[in-house]
């Protein structure tokens, strides 16, 4: 989701629903609007990951720090 094009509100609601969040009406909508703004800000902050040259790198998945 760290793509250049911003996510539409409808797409956000669809993804939220798929993720198990309550996207109902009333007070739920106000919360979802706040979450939508927050999610957009978070995803924007991750865009710099796309600028890293990771073509030769495998994910560091072992959860173990380097040990000498």
């Amino acid at each position: 989701m760290a793509a250049e094009s911003p996510m539409t509100y409808d797409a956000f609601l669809s993804l939220a629903n798929e993720s198990g969040l309550d996207v109902g009406s009333g007070a739920g909508n106000a919360h979802m609007e706040e979450l939508y703004s927050y999610v957009k800000a978070v995803l924007a902050s991750l865009r710099s990951l796309n600028e890293l040259d990771v073509s030769q790198v495998e994910p560091d998945m072992a959860f173990m720090p380097f040990r000498e």
């Binding site: 990951l49 890293l52 720090p65």
Partner: protein, 470 residues
């Protein structure tokens, strides 16, 4: 002995008195309980206090020591645990009313090790809900307050650990550090906080936030006490899948007071980031002092420092949301709204983003390793600002207005990515009387060098001896 003096003595000072029977553990514990009663209405450091249990344990410790059955240097020393460390028979809330009545049936490994060492548990410490925030806000159990100015945050997430230690409520406390949650409150409250190497201290029995970046560790007023605590709690634990099979040295043996020949690198990027000039100067002065004591100091390049926020954000948010997904579905409306927002937002981090962050982590770790092949330690500020007001959403760092969370984690998150050991130690006070801090990072499992330099600095300064005005 004056009870307040007892409360501000270090474990290194208390221990010989207790061992020689010049001071009773009962007197030590009672002094701390009185100090808590006096200061807790202002600080709100504790979620659960255990006065009767602590006094009973103190009487047992006194009897054991009188009978020649000492368990070692922590016997009779007061400790308190962040309230996400499971304690058998004592509720463990993780800072949320959702778990207000949760009573674990088993101690976490750290609690068990402290107990084995004869340390006495005073209680469970307040914290940012589920450790998911760097300020020490908690609407369920009340916000934590900074002993140096109660209008200001303690820092978080281990805020109660910071305030309790700084105010003489407890000698040794613990925190857990996923994005800085030991080092941030240590820096803002003017104490010592060590994030040990990932895997050195067991995570077993702690509520996770991010499996790959959670680090339990001690918070104390002196580096010597940190070394003493590490002697008790470090080491392999088969109950923790990430626990490292490494030899654990006597960390106090590294406290020689000598930094001759220690090579210290100072990343120039740290000083290009938003930074209060007072803190920048205080940190430069601290590094200059280490140089005058024989350390070899030079500027180094750490360009990937600027990628650390994006890398750690993707990993932390995805892992935290994965861990708390069921809680979110069940009790989302009972969470502190900013914590709920973060947990829900993490659900929108894709697998591709997460893996790209892990690729970035590999690059980041390689650059950090390369740097630490050239030098023994990396030095810089722990925090770009002093403690901000409670609930402030932005802080002023030099000429920059920065979101509070981003600012407070700016210098701490890099070492959660790498898992390398990092310590925060007091290095001065701002014009308004708030603590400032120096951060030192070393190679994996080279806590001895980190502690050696930090201790030498404390031997040459008296910042850690100052007391907050309460």
């Amino acid at each position: 002995m004056d009870p307040l003096e007892i409360c501000y003595m270090s474990a290194g000072e208390l221990s010989p008195l207790i061992q020689s029977k010049a001071l009773s553990p009962v007197e030590v514990i009672q002094a701390h309980l009185d100090r808590i009663q006096e200061t807790e209405p202002v600080l709100n450091s504790f979620i659960t206090l255990l006065p009767e249990e602590a006094l009973a344990a103190a009487r047992r410790a006194e009897a054991d020591i009188q009978a020649g059955r000492s368990r070692g240097p922590l016997h009779g020393i007061p400790v308190a645990l962040k309230d996400l460390y499971n304690t058998a028979g004592v509720r463990t809330t993780s800072g949320s009313r959702i778990f207000d009545t949760f009573i674990p049936h088993e101690d976490c490994t750290v609690a068990a090790k402290f107990n084995q060492a004869g340390a006495i548990l005073l209680g469970k410490l307040n914290m940012h809900q589920f450790a998911y925030g760097p300020t020490g806000e908690n609407p369920d159990y009340g916000h934590m307050h900074n002993p140096w100015d109660p209008e200001m945050v303690t820092g978080g997430s281990s805020g109660g650990s910071g305030s309790a230690t700084a105010a003489g409520q407890c000698t040794i406390t613990t925190g857990s550090d996923t994005g800085g949650s030991i080092r941030i409150p240590a820096a803002l409250c003017g104490i010592v906080g060590l994030k040990p190497t990932y895997g050195l201290v067991s995570r077993f029995g702690l509520t996770p936030l991010s499996w790959s970046m959670d680090h339990p560790g001690p918070m104390t007023r002196t580096v010597e006490d940190t070394a003493m605590a590490m002697n008790a709690i470090a080491g392999y634990d088969p109950k923790d899948v990430a626990s490292a099979r490494v030899d654990v040295p006597d960390y106090t043996a590294s406290l020689t007071g000598d930094v001759s020949g220690v090579r210290i690198g100072v990343p120039k990027e740290f000083f290009d980031a938003p930074l209060d000039p007072q803190i920048g100067q205080g940190v430069r002065d601290a590094i200059a002092l280490l140089e005058s004591m024989g350390a070899q100091v030079r500027e180094v390049d750490f360009p990937m420092f600027n990628d650390s926020q994006a890398i750690s954000t993707a990993m932390l948010m995805a892992e935290a949301s994965a861990y708390h997904k069921d809680l979110l579905a069940r009790d989302g409306d009972k969470l502190y709204p900013p914590v709920r927002l973060r947990l829900e937002a993490g659900l929108f981090i894709t697998a591709a983003d997460y893996l790209r962050a892990q690729q970035g982590r590999a690059l980041f770790n390689q650059q950090a390793r390369d740097l630490l092949n050239e030098v023994d330690l990396l030095a810089g500020p722990t925090e770009p600002v002093t403690a901000p007001p409670i609930l402030a959403d932005h802080v002023q760092a030099g000429q920059h207005s920065v979101g509070t969370t981003s600012a407070l984690t700016q210098y701490t998150r890099p070492y959660n990515i790498t898992g390398f050991p990092a310590i925060s130690i007091p290095c001065g006070f701002s014009g308004s009387g708030m603590p400032m801090a120096l951060q030192l990072c070393g190679r994996p499992f080279d806590e001895p060098t980190v502690l050696r330099a930090a201790h030498a600095y404390q031997q040459a300064t008296d910042w850690h001896k100052r007391r907050p005005p309460l």
